[in-house]
Amino acid sequence: MTIVTPVPPPEAPGRATQIPIGGPSAVPGPLRFLGRAVRTLWSNGKGRIGLVLLALIAATALLAPVLAPHSPKATSFPPYLNPNGTNWFGTTGNGQDVFSQMLYGARVSLLVGLTAGLAATLVAVTIGLIAGYRTGVIDEVLSFITNLALVIPSLPLMIILAAYVSHRSVWTIVIVVAFTSWATGARVIRSQALTLRNREFITSAVFSGERLFRVVFREILPNMTSLVAGSFFGAATAAVLAEASLEFLGLGDPNTVSWGTILYYAQQQNALLTGQWVIVFAPGLAIALLALSFTLVNFGVDALSNPRLREK
């Protein structure tokens, strides 16, 4: 029997001609990638709630100067007031308006959460990728360091570091938190890199003459974006909670206005004794909501990488 090769059909009309000979790589540009990522997160139920919550908090932080009725540091009010017409959340022991403090406080918490999370993730990615791709001595050394960092209890370490640093500021907290929360992410990223490095397209890249840097950052890393994003949000969550803890313990800069310092002063000034439960409840709830929003977005990120988790 012979088979005559039929002429392959033309593409459906309207599709054939205009495929652009675009840029050399389809690793999508950051803006398009972000757009696509947000859309996918939005389609996931938990992710959507997380995004909304995060957006609200971010909006509050940005618009604090507009929304706040008073200056957060001005000690112009009578102290220890309960919520009333002028001071919706009451006043602190120093006569400051708590509501305005809450609004401005969002800035610090958000900033620290995102920055420390980013810093921790950068360290985690670098160490994890190198350890995962290069086997042998390098991997052994890096893994040892990672395991060491994992084993040391982070909060006590943070407390010690923060206590020893003489210059107190928000950035101290960012550095301290980043320094102690990279290890979990590094471990996870290393495992994933180990799996990916045995995939044939990595071998293929080596056969195409790619050098180490390109293989790691242009071949392996792009296939791990969801993992890295998940790691980032995890680190950000930890950072928010850690920052609040450190400030509550008095290790932050007492002149900053943040949710953690509100709690610090509340404790110093015996808010519970004076019956000012709003001063305790509000910042606590806000911190929890911010951490929650990161976690919910993280669920959405999981769905990004694992299609089976995507809801209909």
Binding site: T2, V4, G209
Partner: protein, 294 residues
């Protein structure tokens, strides 16, 4: 010997009687394996060794098409890795002209890859899911041939045409998941051809493809041999595709070379029991006509 191809059909006929074939690129040396062995230490059992390849010797002459056949565990993939420089032989030597393949380091390895390339088994795993066809095929042109963007793009289109992905403009922008298995394998082959290698090691290139797509890819390999004088080392467990593409065949069992000879002869008159087992394992509906329910 050339592979007789019928361009109007989806056919490919195997190498028949000797006919003229364009010579291999001048200066292509033979690939010589001499007493090559590979042993691995077995985890958990101190001192125990696992022999993947056991004293294998053969030569791939310039322009030849050699089949390495065996089931899994026969050592053929390990041999492929050693030949392409991904692993080092424990004993024995692999030479490509005056290049000692077993001793190559990263710089020498890159140069070696301009001469010896690989086509992989898994069309779904051999392409980075995030890169377009364009990117994948252009990279070796830029890395090995030092071509700038515009020239590399021209070469990329040329390569896509050679492997039959026409119109090349249409395929260039596609991502792997938009292509069929056969099309992906063609991209893999295009990538391997970028720097005009002298020898291609094809590791089970059609085993993971649907049967209807195999002839096309095999025909492409045969055509490349014919038109460019490429040497081909074809690794597989499937004797049918080996028959179609190779002139000479080497049968591996548990790391040892148990039989070798001209392909047609070995398949029609197998001497070793393992070869017979491999023959019986070939999928063949027409055998069902003679067999039948007991």
């Amino acid at each position: 010997m050339s592979a007789d191809v019928d361009p109007a059909a989806g056919h490919v006929k195997p190498s028949g009687s000797s006919t003229a074939q364009p010579p291999a690129p001048s200066g292509t040396p033979p690939l010589v394996l001499q007493g090559v062995s590979k042993t691995y230490a077995v985890r958990g059992r101190r001192g125990a060794l696992m022999t993947a390849v056991d004293e294998v010797s053969f030569t791939v002459a310039p322009g030849a098409s050699i089949g390495l056949v065996g089931a899994s565990g026969s050592g053929k993939s390990t041999l492929a890795k050693m030949i392409t420089g991904s692993e080092r032989p424990t004993t024995g030597s692999i030479t490509f002209g005056d290049i000692d393949v077993g001793r190559l380091r990263s710089g020498g390895l890159r140069t070696y890859h301009t001469k010896v390339q690989m086509v992989f088994q898994d069309p779904y795993g051999a392409l980075n899911p995030l890169h377009t066809v364009e990117y994948t095929v252009m990279r070796p042109c830029q890395n090995f041939l030092g071509m700038s963007g515009h020239k590399a793009m021209e070469r990329m289109h040329e390569l896509l045409e050679i492997v039959g992905l026409t119109p090349s403009a249409q395929y260039a922008a596609k991502l792997p998941h938009q292509l069929s298995g056969g099309q992906r394998q063609r991209v893999v082959i295009a990538r391997a051809l970028a720097c005009d290698p002298a020898l291609i090691v094809a590791d089970e290139p059609v085993s993971m493809l649907d049967v209807s797509l195999r002839a096309g890819v095999l025909r492409l390999l045969a055509k490349l041999r014919e038109e460019r004088g490429l040497s081909l080392l074809y690794i597989t467990h499937d004797l049918l595709s080996a028959r179609v593409v190779t002139d000479h065949i080497l049968v591996l069992n548990k790391g040892r070379l148990v039989e070798q000879g001209p392909t047609k002869q070995v398949l029609q008159h197998p001497q070793n029991e393992y070869t017979v087992q491999l023959l019986d394992a070939v999928a063949n509906p027409f055998a069902a006509a003679s067999a039948g329910p007991a």
